[in-house]
Each structure stands twice: as structure tokens, then as C-alpha cells.
Amino acid sequence: MSNYLDALSVLLLISAFVLMGNKRTNAYIKSFKMQSILIAILTGVMGINSLLKDGHVDMLVVCAVVIGIKVIYIPYLLNKTCKNVAYRVEKDFYFNIPILILGCCFIVVFTYFSLSTTTGINSGNINMQVINSVSLILIGLFFMISRKKAIGLIIGFLVIENGIFVTALFATQGMPFIVDMGILMDILVAVIIMGMMAFRIDEKFVSTDGNKIKDLRG
């Protein structure tokens, strides 16, 4: 059991690195989908485990919802948004991709050192898993600030949410069922709204370049 979880947590971290290396918006969505599939497997494994151990089906329901929302619907929605907006390739990064990947490595090392010195988290066998998932959150944030376009921001936000979800699974065996459901609903609605807005921004000024939002400073 713990071996599977270790492997999945590492794979999730790798998926974040892969995402960071992507240039095309289509590739972002594919990487995100891969990551969501990994999360679905993770919840599935934990769900079966808790079913066998305590007879709870909660986690399996969460798993089904994750598949429905994160693996199928959100990538579909993003693909649709992506078709509507004018650009396909991110041309102008603030940094080039090797530097971004190095930045991700730095984030993982940083998380390792900061969390391993926090007593309380550092006890028991969850240590590395939590470090991997917190790194995932930070890489999501880093992804958001490294991409300029609206789709990049939405994907970054989703990676952060994925990371938080995984942290909850690893650190606490999942939040209370109703909270998990509420969080997934919120994410779904958030992505729908963001998608619509990205489309409207595109209508208004042709490119969804967040960098051009200059009128609202100060």
C-alpha cells in the first residue's frame, strides 16, 4: 500500500515537471489530464483500501467524482476554450524552460528542507509524500507566474488545487467527505467561470495576455 502511494506521489511530482516543460497550450491540458488520472488512481487505491479496512465507500465516490470532473470534464472544457482563443503556442516566457525546470528543482529542495525541519510533520512515514505534494502546489504557483496567457493561469490554478487535494490525502487521509465534495464543486465552477472570462478577455483585446492589464495599476 505505502509503496503504491510513494510511487504515485513521485509520479505526480514528475507530471508537474513535465507540465513546466510544455510550450503548447494543448500540451498543458494533456499534462494536466495525466496528473488528474494519477490523482484518480491515488484516490482509487486509497478508496479500495478504506473499503476493505473499514467498509467506507466515501473515497471511492470521491474517486468517481474526480474522474468525472478532473479527468473528463475540465480538460474537455479547456480544450473548447483553447479552440476559441487566438493563440496556440506560448512564445514569450519570462524565463526559458531549462531555467524554469531548475527553479522547480530548487522548489522541491526548499520544500524538503522547510518541511523536514517542522516537527510534527516529520514524524511517521508520510514525510516524503507530503513533501512531494507541497512541492506540487508550489510548482503550480511557479507555473502561474511563469506563463503570461490566461490558459496558463487556469492550468496553474488547477495544479495548485491538485496539489492541495493530494496533500489532504497524504497528510490526513482525506478531508471529511462533504468538504471534499464541496471543494470539487468549487473547482468545477471556478474553471467554468475562468474559461468564460478567458474567452471574453480574448474578445475584448484579441490576446489573453495578462501582462497587458496595465490600466488598473496603483
Binding site: G120, I164, T167, M175, V179, I183, M185, I193, M197
Partner: protein, 490 residues
């Protein structure tokens, strides 16, 4: 009764979907808000009599105590005033062709969805569901910020939803660490249950709790508009329609601050002192007030100016909570109430000004006393009130907060706070006073108030804030004292 409170906005939303006629929609909106006020009054009485309102249904999810009822009453009262104001405001917008019937319906649907999420956040015991509700407030208000569909409005809405969603996501990470610190202390059926966490606070794991507080402060602090996470706030407040700015400034910020206060209560109870939380809260609070002090001088837009003033006042509340003495918390909660009413009055007045002059720029507005005699008077007095001039209510609560700081012998923070508040007062006066005088009245405008229900609302608010400045009713005082006891514990 409590569940009825949550059902009313939902029913209102359904009715907005069903009823096509505009008059009906106004009627539904006002009726729903009146019912909410009545239910709020009823629940307030229950809380005064029994301390808490709890039901066993749905796993005991519903929970109101003195702290939540204070914020809840602010929500329902300002919700009521906003719906009354909205009638006149929306009619005027329709006349000018800025809206059509369909958009009006969307406005009401989103407004009541927003009120529902606010009420949900305030009436649950589970911190996780509170988080879900606070995130939902962002989602329901995002389209309201971008309601006018202009370039700036959509920019502001985009900035709002991205910054707040990510910020609130960080708060969720904090909540996960909070749950983590409670594993083995509370039963799994009571995970994230506020009362269980508070009662067992002494056994929570300290280091994880510290980590959790920092994440939660950054997360909910984004929503409160504490510097340096405040960047979305001036844009969103200035671009949203004025009644929505009112709801955001008067209601939404308090809701997020309520989340922070709940967490602070657990953590201080756990550590047995407020040194850790206090340092962080006071720093962030002073930084917010200082940010506002710098930016009020450079504002060209009167709604942005008021938004920066909201940042200032949230900073003051954060400082008050940071000091964590009974007097400072009392002052902080009172300040929350006073700020909400005063700022609502100001934002509602800006709606009248905006509709008359069709501009948000301070430099283009002259001769307000001639064109809008009542609104101008209320707005002028409101500016004094929000700056902290006696005899208005904000003065009373600021005085309480500052004297509580001096009581703790912290002359540095107290002195700094007085200085910054004075600077902000000057800044508001210097930049805004030009609006009131002058003879150059723009063409195509005629003197007189347009929005009669709106004028009645703002005058009513002026009466409330003046009365509250002179006299705090005994019941309210008792309620706030109970809330202080809940926060401090024991």
C-alpha cells in the same frame, strides 16, 4: 429556523429564474431581504437567550454563536439596504440603456447567490465547509465585478477571480495542516469541527499549527484585502456596480475576516498566549494601513479611494485582533460593524454620483452640492465619518482600538496607527473635497436626485452611524462582549 435563513436566498434565486417581469423581480428581492432581516433578528434573540443556535440535523452542521450572529446581522441588514437601493439604481441603468431585462435578472440571481454563500459561511461549524462557502463567494461575485463588460471591468474580474482563488487555495492548505495537527486529538467524525478544535486546542500539535496559521492568514487575508495581498481589491471595488461594491466592502471582507478570527481563537487558545499570532497580525495590519496611507494620495477615482480606505479599516481590525485583549477585540468587532455601515453608505452614494456624472474621475466632478444636494451632504459627512471624525461611529471604535493598544504599553504601534490614520484622513480630504464645490456644472445634467429609494437608504444609514457614534445599545454591547468571550475562551 436557521435552515429557513439559508433557504430564503435559494428560493429567491429560483423565483428570479421563473419570473420574467421586472416589477416582480424587484418585489422578490425586497421581500426576500426583509424576510432575511426578520430571521436575523429572530436568531439574534435566540443567541442572546441561549448563547448558541445548533441543530442536530445534517450531522450538526448548523451552528451560530455570538460571533457569527454579529457578522450575520451585518450581512442581512446591508443586504436589505442594498436591495432597496438596487431598485432605483437598476431602473436608472435601464433608462440609460446600460442594462437590459435579461442582465437585470442575472444581476439579481448572482446577488442572491452571493448572499446565500455569505450566510452559509457564517452558519456552519465545520471549517472546511466554511472554506467552501468563502470560495463560493468569490465565484458568485466574479461576474458581478465584470458586470458592465467593459475592458476594465473584465480585467478587474479576471484579476479578482485568479488572485482570490489562488489565495483561498492557500488557505485550504492551511486548513489541511490544521486538520493534520488535530489527528489523534479529535475523533474523525469531528474533523475540522470548530468547537471540537477549540475545546481540544491545548492538545493540537504546535509546529503544524503555526504553519497552518500562516497559510490561512495569507489565504483568507487575500480575501480580506490585507496588504500585501490586497491588489485585487481596488480594481474589483471600483469596477463593480455600486450596490455590489457595497456588498463586497461591507459584507465580503467581514466574512473573510470572520474566518481569520475563528482560526486565531483556536491558535491562541492552543498556545495559551497571543505572541505568535499577535506579531504577525499586527505587522500585516500596520502594513495594510500604511499601504492605504500611501495610495489615497494618488487616487484619481473616487471608488478606488474608498476601496483603499477599506484596506485601511481591515488593517485596523487585524491589529485589534492581533493584540487580543478583551478591549481590543471588543473594539475590533465594533469597528467591523461601524466600518460596514459607513462604507456601505459611501459606496451607495457613489452609485448616485456615478449615475449623475457618468464618470468615476474625481477631477471631472464639481459642484456636487448643487446637483445632488442630499447625496453630497451624506457623502461629505460619510467621508468625515470614515476618516474617523467624531461624532460618528468609526471614531468610537478607532478610539477603543487605539486605547487598547496604549493600555498594552505598545506606544510604537499606537503612535504609528494614529499618525497613519491622520495621514489617510488628510489624503481623503485633500483629494475628494474638490468634488463638492464649484459652479461649473456639466451640460446635459440637471440638479436633483434620481434614485429616491437610494437616497432614503443612505440617509437612513447616516442616521444609524451617527446614533451608533453617540450611543451603543446595551444589547449590542452584550452581544459583542459574548463574542469576545467566545474568541478568548472561558
Amino acid at each position: 429556523m436557521g435552515f429557513v435563513l439559508l433557504a430564503v436566498p435559494v428560493i429567491a434565486v429560483v423565483l428570479f429564474f421563473l419570473l420574467k417581469k421586472m416589477q416582480y423581480q424587484h418585489a422578490v428581492s425586497v421581500t426576500a431581504s426583509i424576510i432575511l432581516v426578520i430571521l436575523g433578528a429572530f436568531l439574534t434573540r435566540e443567541v442572546m437567550l441561549y448563547g448558541t443556535v445548533e441543530y442536530t440535523a445534517l450531522g450538526g452542521i448548523f451552528y451560530i454563536d455570538a460571533l457569527s450572529i454579529i457578522v450575520l446581522d451585518i450581512v442581512v441588514i446591508i443586504g436589505f439596504l442594498t436591495s432597496v437601493y438596487s431598485i432605483g439604481y437598476l431602473e436608472e441603468e435601464l433608462r440609460e440603456g446600460k442594462l437590459d431585462q435579461g442582465r437585470l435578472r442575472i444581476y439579481y440571481i448572482l446577488m442572491y447567490a452571493f448572499i446565500f454563500t455569505m450566510l452559509l459561511a457564517l452558519t456552519v461549524k465545520n471549517i472546511g465547509i466554511m472554506w467552501v462557502a468563502i470560495e463560493a463567494t468569490t465565484l458568485s461575485s466574479a461576474f458581478l465585478v465584470g458586470f458592465y463588460n467593459g475592458k476594465d471591468a473584465i480585467d478587474a474580474a479576471w484579476k479578482y477571480i485568479i488572485i482570490c482563488s489562488v489565495g483561498i487555495g492557500i488557505a485550504l492548505l492551511g486548513i489541511i495542516f490544521l486538520q493534520f495537527s488535530s489527528i489523534g486529538v479529535v475523533e474523525s467524525s469531528q474533523f475540522l469541527d470548530w468547537t471540537a478544535l477549540f475545546n481540544n486546542a491545548a492538545d493540537l500539535k504546535g509546529p503544524t499549527l503555526r504553519l497552518s496559521f500562516i497559510f490561512i492568514l495569507v489565504g483568507f487575508g487575500t480575501k480580506v484585502g490585507l496588504a500585501p495581498m490586497h491588489t485585487w481589491l481596488p480594481d474589483a471595488h471600483s469596477q463593480a456596480p455600486s450596490p455590489i461594491s457595497t456588498l463586497m466592502s461591507g459584507v465580503l471582507l467581514n466574512g473573510a475576516m470572520y474566518g481569520i478570527i475563528r482560526i486565531v481563537a483556536i491558535i491562541n487558545h492552543s498556545f495559551g498566549n497571543s505572541i505568535f499570532v499577535g506579531r504577525i497580525m499586527v505587522t500585516v495590519g500596520v502594513l495594510s494601513v500604511a499601504t492605504a496611507a500611501v495610495f489615497v494620495f494618488t487616487q484619481k477615482d473616487y471608488k478606488r479611494m474608498l476601496a483603499y480606505s477599506s484596506i485601511e479599516h481591515m488593517g485596523i481590525i487585524a491589529i485589534a485582533i492581533g493584540f487580543f485583549t478583551p478591549l481590543s477585540i471588543f473594539g475590533g468587532l465594533l469597528h467591523m460593524i461601524n466600518h460596514s455601515f459607513t462604507k456601505s453608505m459611501l459606496f451607495l452614494s457613489t452609485g448616485n454620483i456615478l449615475q449623475k456624472y457618468n464618470t468615476k474621475e474625481i477631477s471631472k466632478i464639481r459642484g456636487m452640492f448643487k446637483l445632488l444636494p442630499v447625496t453630497a451632504t451624506v457623502f461629505l459627512l460619510g467621508l468625515f465619518a470614515i476618516g474617523g471624525a467624531p461624532p460618528f461611529s468609526v471614531f468610537t471604535s478607532e478610539l477603543l482600538v487605539i486605547s487598547s493598544i496604549f493600555q498594552e504599553n505598545n506606544f510604537l504601534v499606537g503612535g504609528l496607527l494614529i499618525l497613519l490614520i491622520a495621514i489617510i484622513f488628510t489624503g481623503i480630504v485633500v483629494t475628494m473635497f474638490k468634488m463638492f464645490y464649484g459652479n461649473e456644472i456639466p451640460r446635459e445634467t440637471s440638479p436633483g436626485e434620481g434614485n429616491i429609494p437610494g437616497v432614503v437608504t443612505i440617509v437612513g444609514l447616516l442616521v444609524i452611524i451617527t446614533a451608533m457614534g453617540l450611543y451603543i445599545p446595551g444589547e449590542l454591547k452584550g452581544l459583542i462582549e459574548n463574542a469576545v468571550k467566545i474568541i478568548i475562551g472561558g
